[in-house]
Symmetry: C2
Subunit: 216 residues, 2 copies
């Protein structure tokens, strides 16, 4: 029986649900995709760029409607190589669009990047970086996440995890877009040369989590 006179002794157990994970596609729960799940109607407006040492953080503003809930876009950053894996496949790069809603829930939309055509939408994001760590430079750009993703003719993975950098906050709702976008080798090398080392967190255990695969 719970002792309500000694509440300070109650145990707190938090499931260790961290990110990134290797998504095993045969283990996913299949659901039908519905375009109302992720609505990016307005362009995100970027206002500055922060040199975080082994990452660049592009701070911005914008609104997404995710599963009917209004989320404020906060920032975009990159990882080399990609952090999430699909059946063990590692892409050269992954983009993280971080959002938060008024009650504090965090949603990250993850986009894989592969080498291919020059990416016009991301053009502005591959130049003019602050040179010194912790330096924040004004940065003006607009980006349509809809335009970047294009028609979602593959699918989306959805699961509950964490931020992949400290403080590794949990209960982050991840939306990992299956179809990779392309950048040119010049674009990728331009941003990669800024980083001496990889900045991808190690793969974390899935444990008892379920990953939904929304099929299109």
């Amino acid at each position: 029986m719970l002792n309500y006179e000694q509440q300070e002794r109650w145990s707190k157990i938090v499931p260790n649900w961290q990110s990134p994970i290797n998504i095993i596609t045969t283990d996913t729960i299949k659901e039908k995709w519905n375009k109302d799940l992720l609505i990016f109607d307005e362009e995100y407006k970027f206002i500055n760029i922060l040199n975080k040492g082994n990452n660049l953080q592009y701070d911005g503003r914008g609104v997404a409607i995710i599963e009917g809930r209004k989320f404020d876009f906060q920032q975009l950053h990159f990882h080399f190589p990609a952090e999430h894996q699909i059946d063990g496949q590692v892409y050269p790069m992954e983009l993280h669009f971080v959002h938060q809603n008024i009650i504090g829930q965090i949603t990250v939309v993850a986009l894989f990047v592969e080498l291919g055509d020059f990416n016009r939408e991301l053009g502005d994001f591959f130049r003019d970086f602050p040179a010194v760590e912790s330096e924040k430079d004004p940065f003006s750009a607009k980006l349509s996440l809809d335009g970047l993703i294009g028609n979602l003719d593959s699918g989306v993975y959805h699961y509950l995890g964490s931020l992949t950098t400290p403080p590794l906050v949990k209960n982050v709702e991840w939306w990992v877009i299956q179809k990779a976008i392309t950048v040119s080798s010049e674009q990728l090398e331009g941003i990669k040369k800024r980083f001496q080392h990889k900045n991808a967190r190690e793969i974390q255990k899935v444990n008892e989590r379920k990953v939904i695969y929304y099929e299109n």
Copy 2:
């Protein structure tokens, strides 16, 4: 700069967002109520009742659509006195309907109880309790949460907190219905006499959290 060679040393800071809280109505963020936020179309079917010492847990099955997401109803339990407070007001009792979705998010719908008319919908829930702690008895009942709440002519408070009993799991989405339902004094006394002590957790700090008030 983050050291990706020593990821095991990365700090994990989790905001201490616990429940219950005292909701200060002047601090809430007002939003317009939309009936699609909480959809309880089907009756919940209860299958057994578990004596947890200082609580009774009614296990059941059912589906709720909460902010467009499908949640499975899991169990109902009671607290004496109510755990949440509205501007310091304490109701004699609070009902918690616990739900979880496929990716592991938890939602609790909280209903305050005050003394008044006999509550027909809850009639079955105030009799035939297992006598011994940890005993689980078959229990067959149906309950419409829509019917119990009635027309939502007041409003709903919504915030991010925790379970109020160990393991005090965080990131629980709370929906606290403003308008109390009534039970008769016979109903309340019948269930209260089973418990020797109060089973309400202490009020927790709101910290930097925002509480939404959905006005009807």
